[in-house]
Symmetry: C2
Subunit: 359 residues, 2 copies
């Protein structure tokens, strides 16, 4: 019997989700019209709550999409006429770059070594329209420091800075004056069922999409930025959305607000600290990411080498489900999500279990 | 208190859905990985079940999308280099045409008068690559006879015939040798929460998408047909999908299979017959669609003129929620969904209530 799922998404559900879902069915939420006042109210509460939770300024719009994968495509479609630049530090940032290629853009890239991030000043070509950064690489557990991300805006005024925060939100606090867009999906840090993405953009993104449209470049249809803006202004969506998903997101945001974002962040720090410490002390295991500045707080990757299979079995027997290593690291690494759904007690049990593992 | 929601989507939930959802949470379904054997099994059962329910031949692929609105865009992206042709008989077929324009295609159209469908032979230009037909117009309650749709394939061998069945499935039985693609969303005839679309394509669609790609035309990224095919072959999806939605769709399909598609169709016919009869007999109301061949069985529109508001109130008092007329017909029409979730008893109560309405 699995008690705690440490897979980094879909991950452990936040402990209130199933009760909220039961309540949703009781209230008939899955049957309400997405053009009703009731839906508009739910939608407004969700975006207001998110704005409060993450200190998102008023000049940013919040859109609902079907997934973060969709947002990759919408960003390239809406914000790039010709040229994007991608910092690649794992499989997901790589996929974002590939999507730009698939949409026939000139997509430049800078790749970090596996398990490493970036440091120092990065020079970007003058004609770059978009700088794409993955804050937290779910595949490798590499995080980019926020100060590193903040360097781009000032030096590249012509470019929009977009940040993939899929597996880090709600942990990081961004300086929204230094970025133009962030996006995530709800099945990771928000502990919800998959099937909903959130895309946050500022006025510069809206202007860019409108400029492309004016030039006759197709920016997509129902989910292009102007259509999303027009609908968001009414607290609606262009299509019939995942209404139940939005309802549940609202409920979890309210739960997070009651708990307090500071508490959530402090607990995340604590849990990350004890897990990294356990890995560093362990005779057979170690953190995959060596540079402390690049060690993610929200997706922690353990280098387990030929102990991987045995450790997985050992943890499963205790009801702890580790995430497999990503791709080619499946047989040598394990990943541990550290989301608000993972309690301090569950992390303490995980750490004690790792300490007890003798190979 | 609403007992029955006749709005044509999101509509009345099928009566088993909330129990299935409770079971899903109990089994931890919202936490499972979309790359797991367990997900592949759910996905396979869903597509196998749908194939059986709707007699979909083996040479058709079944994909999961986020909505039918998304499918409109994917169809144009993947299946049209330059020119599509749209039969427009209401607001949704009109929107499909507009999406083709937004994606910079030469989209031709033929428009029916409001509340009317099409009859006879339709001539299509030789260089048309796609013929888009909306089987059942959710806005007007106009259905196109299947024999009408079947005319296109034979006479236009160069073109793909795609059919929007958003508000008619699972009622109609198509001749899949006469069409290349159909699509729907689950919050209508399948009585499920919104947030999932189903797109069904044959080999000709796959070949067309591959041909566009070879020409250097972008066909999108994660949801282009080749990527969907490669993932569907493994019973997976390119992105993290609405796993809970797919699980619930599978459960409802199994429920429909147990009930039997013939019974579902027969009950649909019965319910439509008694409602149209009641409207025809009524002193103050009438069917909006006059031509019997164009009268939808699954979305029945009542012309209520200045009785609309009063009738709505009258029905709501009996716990019956009618759907508003669409767009500019909001003040003069009411729409009644006739989906498998609407029981014979509920329809009989609706019909008796209409008969009792004296204005």
């Amino acid at each position: 019997m699995i008690h705690t799922n440490f897979t980094p998404g879909p991950s452990q559900l936040y402990f209130t989700v199933s009760d909220h879902a039961r309540q949703a069915f009781k209230e008939g939420i899955p049957s309400i019209s997405h053009r009703s006042k009731q839906f508009e109210q739910i939608s407004k509460e969700t975006t207001d709550g998110l704005r409060q939770l993450l200190s998102i300024p008023d000049n940013f719009y919040i859109f609902f999409t079907s997934s973060a994968t969709e947002v990759w495509e919408r960003i390239i479609q809406n914000l790039v006429a010709e040229k994007s630049f991608h910092l690649i530090n794992g499989s997901f940032s790589k996929r974002f770059h590939e999507i730009a290629i698939q949409l026939n853009k000139k997509a430049e890239k800078l790749e970090a070594k596996e398990g490493e991030g970036f440091t120092g000043e990065i020079s970007v070509q003058d004609n770059t329209e978009l700088i794409a950064v993955t804050h937290n690489e779910t595949s490798t557990g590499v995080v980019l420091p926020i100060e590193f991300i903040n360097q781009f805006k000032e030096k590249n005024k012509q470019a929009l800075v977009v940040v993939d925060v899929v597996s880090s939100m709600p942990y990081p606090q961004f300086d929204f004056s230094k970025i133009d867009s962030v996006f995530f999906s709800v099945q990771k840090g928000f502990g919800l069922p998959a099937g909903l993405g959130v895309w946050i953009v500022n006025q510069h993104c809206i202007e860019k999409a409108e400029a492309l449209l004016k030039k006759g470049i197709s920016i997509g249809s129902y989910h292009n930025i102007p259509t999303l803006v027009a609908n968001a202004a009414k607290n609606q969506t262009p299509e019939t959305p995942n209404v139940l998903g939005i309802y549940l997101l609202n409920k979890i945001i309210q739960d997070f607000l009651r708990k307090g974002i500071d508490t959530i962040r402090r607990e995340t720090d604590y849990k990350a600290a004890i897990l990294y410490h356990a890995l560093e002390q362990h005779a057979l295991l170690s953190p995959f990411v060596k540079d402390k500045n690049a060690q993610s707080k929200t997706v922690i990757v353990a280098d387990c080498q030929n102990h991987t299979e045995k450790l997985t079995k050992f943890l499963l027997e205790k009801g702890l489900q580790p995430g497999d290593g990503y791709g080619s690291s499946k047989k040598t690494q394990l990943r541990f999500a550290n989301f608000p759904a993972h309690s301090k007690e569950q992390y303490e049990l995980l750490v004690d279990s790792l300490a007890a593992f003798q190979g």
